[in-house]
């Protein structure tokens, strides 16, 4: 019975702490069979630190799907610097890469020295000394994760980025909505806005400083632009009808959106400085969910002009819109990959609503999620992962899948629904 008591106490603490800060936790749901074996040795001097930096790095690398970290219990040697690494020891554990490090307390924080070793090549790849204040140890761990990730994969790490998301609780007239920003690992959540009216569709400005979103706080939808750090905001649009689906141009000067002020929802582009709106689409069907191409030259959007929703691409140069999805009868809410080569979207398959990937110029549509009530895909700035909203039991949770579909993880909240994730751009 002692264990039951402990479990209950744990549940109580979990409940209380999650209620206080609404952090998301991570559960890896599928590991990639091509993940690289890596060892992240606990850092010397880490026992006295408020955060386990090596563990944060390990969790980051595992979540990326690119790495399969060695469990700590399997490490019978714990070197803290390159000179002490016995390559044979780690080779016998089938580890290809090894991270070692040590931390020292300084006046205002910590000095963390890490080194990345190539075990099969028997060489030191990189090393760096990072200083961090006591309350930014997680930030330092994300920075180190980014360095390791890029050195091995040649892809820029996205561990120092953030996600915005919306929470909802209750039903009908008694609901509470929240807009939050958290680190990419779900921690350090900060409230941006709460309301008893719906909040939707957060979108990051390209500089990562502002969020555009839809709020019903005036009892009808309006689009707001809010500075995340100062909280300062403006109401950008409040036309009759739908004011929805804001998305920033890559230069940060314009926002594409869906407005129904002239009848049915059409795509418009708002000039943020002079507040003028230019109508882009002209027809009698639904046009919504725009996404701006990384090169700024075209927009994806959802339209039901052919009957059901399909993805179209509008060229800002020619003013022409071409349908680009042809698989199935429901394809919606598309987003470009950062290199513009692929689109990620919600596809209705015979199993349900799933995240899918397709080459932008056509080609086969490939379902990459395993869940079937998926919404709101948002691509990491390095293109390796897609975060999206789905359901776990009766709760809305965030989930992420690697762009190739090989690995995935889930970020459930302790209570209520989490939805509408938006992955930030690179922030440094």
């Amino acid at each position: 019975m002692q264990t039951i008591s402990k479990v209950w106490l744990f549940c109580v603490l979990l409940f209380v702490s999650s209620y206080a800060n609404a952090n998301l936790t991570i559960e890896i749901t599928r590991g990639s069979d091509q993940a690289l074996p890596i060892g992240i040795v606990p850092f010397a001097g880490g026992d006295n630190m408020p955060e386990d930096v090596a563990q944060i790095i390990q969790d980051n690398l595992e979540r990326s799907g690119f790495f399969a970290p060695l469990e700590r219990s399997a490490m019978f040697d714990r070197p803290s610097q390159a000179d002490d690494v016995e390559f044979g020891t780690w080779r016998s554990l089938d580890v290809r890469y090894l991270v070692v490090g040590r931390a020292q307390q300084t006046g205002s924080g910590y000095q963390i020295q890490f080194e990345l070793m190539d075990i099969s090549g028997q060489r030191r790849m990189i090393g760096e000394t990072v200083t961090a204040s006591t309350n930014d140890l997680r930030g330092a761990a994300h920075y180190i994760s980014d360095q390791i990730f890029e050195e091995i994969t040649d892809i820029r790490g996205a561990f120092s980025t953030q996600i915005a998301y919306v929470t909802a609780q209750g039903l009908g007239d008694n609901m509470q909505f929240g807009l939050y920003v958290a680190d990419a690992d779900g921690r350090n959540s900060q409230q941006v806005l709460t309301s008893d009216q719906p909040i939707m569709s957060p979108a990051w400005s390209p500089d990562g400083r502002k969020l555009a979103y839809v709020s019903f706080e005036t009892e009808r939808p309006a689009i707001y632009i809010q500075d995340v750090s100062t909280g300062q905001r403006i109401q950008a649009t409040s036309f009759d009808g739908i004011n929805g689906a804001p998305t920033w141009s890559p230069d940060g000067r314009k926002i594409a959106m869906s407005l129904s002020k002239d009848g049915q929802p059409e795509i418009y582009i708002l000039d943020i400085n002079n507040r003028s709106v230019e109508r882009i689409t002209q027809n009698s069907s639904i046009d919504t969910e725009p996404a701006w191409a990384p090169d700024g030259r075209s927009l994806l959007f959802t339209s039901d002009r052919s009957g059901g929703p399909q993805i179209y691409e509008y060229s800002l140069g020619s003013g022409e819109a071409n349908r680009i999805t042809f698989t199935g009868n429901y394809n919606a809410r598309a987003r470009y990959s950062p290199d513009g080569e692929y689109i990620f979207l919600i596809h209705r398959s015979n199993r349900g609503y799933q995240v899918a990937r397709q080459e932008r110029d056509g080609g086969r549509l490939v379902v990459i999620s395993e869940t079937t009530r998926d919404e709101s895909p948002s691509v990491a700035p390095n293109g390796t992962m897609v975060i999206f909203a789905t359901q776990q039991g009766s709760n809305g949770v965030l989930s992420a899948v690697s762009a190739d579909g090989r690995s995935s993880f889930r970020l459930p909240a302790a209570q209520g629904d989490v939805r509408d994730p938006a992955w930030s751009p690179f922030l440094n």
Binding site: M1, Q2, I4, S5, W8, L9, C11, V12, F15, A168, Q169, G170, L171, G172, D173, N174, M175, D196, Q197, P198, M200, S201, F216, E217, E219, R220, P221, D240, G241, I242, G244, A245, S258, S260, Q264, P265, I286, T288, E289, T302, P309, Y330, A332, R333, I346, R348, Y353, R373, E375, S376, Q391, S394, Q415, R419, D420
Partner: protein, 181 residues
């Protein structure tokens, strides 16, 4: 039983809070039942009396049980739709007609038509579908002689469900247009 009394009661209390939090509007979820509660939210800034699929009879104006059909707001204020459709089903035509009569007889009265969808599909596309449903009701009322100046439309898409869960009956309750006076 080693469980300490304090820990146990705290745990029980918390589990009750959790359960209550999950079903705070239980019992009024059925959009087809004739509730007698005030349909307006408690302590919220939302305006719509009678929303949430409840056919409140104590909210709104003229609470008396008068028989004059056109002097009080019709009690049934929610109509439901088939999946992916904005057609007003024949079983709800009399409901919409009653609202048309009321609005014609009370030209100073105004209604906001709230369009809603079930949770399936993407959020912003559902926002458009919810608007399509509310527009269909607005067109119907207009054809029945209600002045456009008495009507406006707000779509909530899938953002304000009245029933939770993934059952067909929950979905059916959530696909609705609500008349808000």
């Amino acid at each position: 039983m080693q469980l300490k009394p304090l820990a146990r009661s705290l745990a029980v209390a918390l589990s009750i809070v959790v359960i209550a939090g999950c079903s705070s509007t239980g019992g009024t979820q059925d959009g087809d039942s004739y509730g007698s509660q005030d349909g307006s939210g408690t302590g919220t800034s939302t305006s719509g009396a009678g929303t949430g699929g409840q056919y409140g009879s104590t909210s709104g104006s003229g609470a008396g049980a008068g028989q004059q059909a056109d002097s009080r707001i019709p009690e049934v204020r929610t109509i439901h739709f088939d999946f992916d459709r904005d057609t007003i089903k024949s079983e709800y035509e009399s409901v919409v007609m009653a609202h048309a009569r009321y609005l014609r007889a009370n030209p100073n009265s105004r209604v906001v038509l709230h369009g809603h969808t079930d949770e399936r599909g993407t959020r912003e596309y559902n926002m458009a579908l919810g608007e399509r449903r509310a527009n269909a009701v607005q067109r119907f009322l207009n054809i029945q002689g209600v002045s456009p100046s008495q009507m406006s439309v707000v779509s909530y898409g899938e953002e304000r469900p009245v029933a939770s869960g993934q059952s067909e009956s929950a979905y059916a309750q959530n696909r609705r247009v609500v008349f808000n006076y």
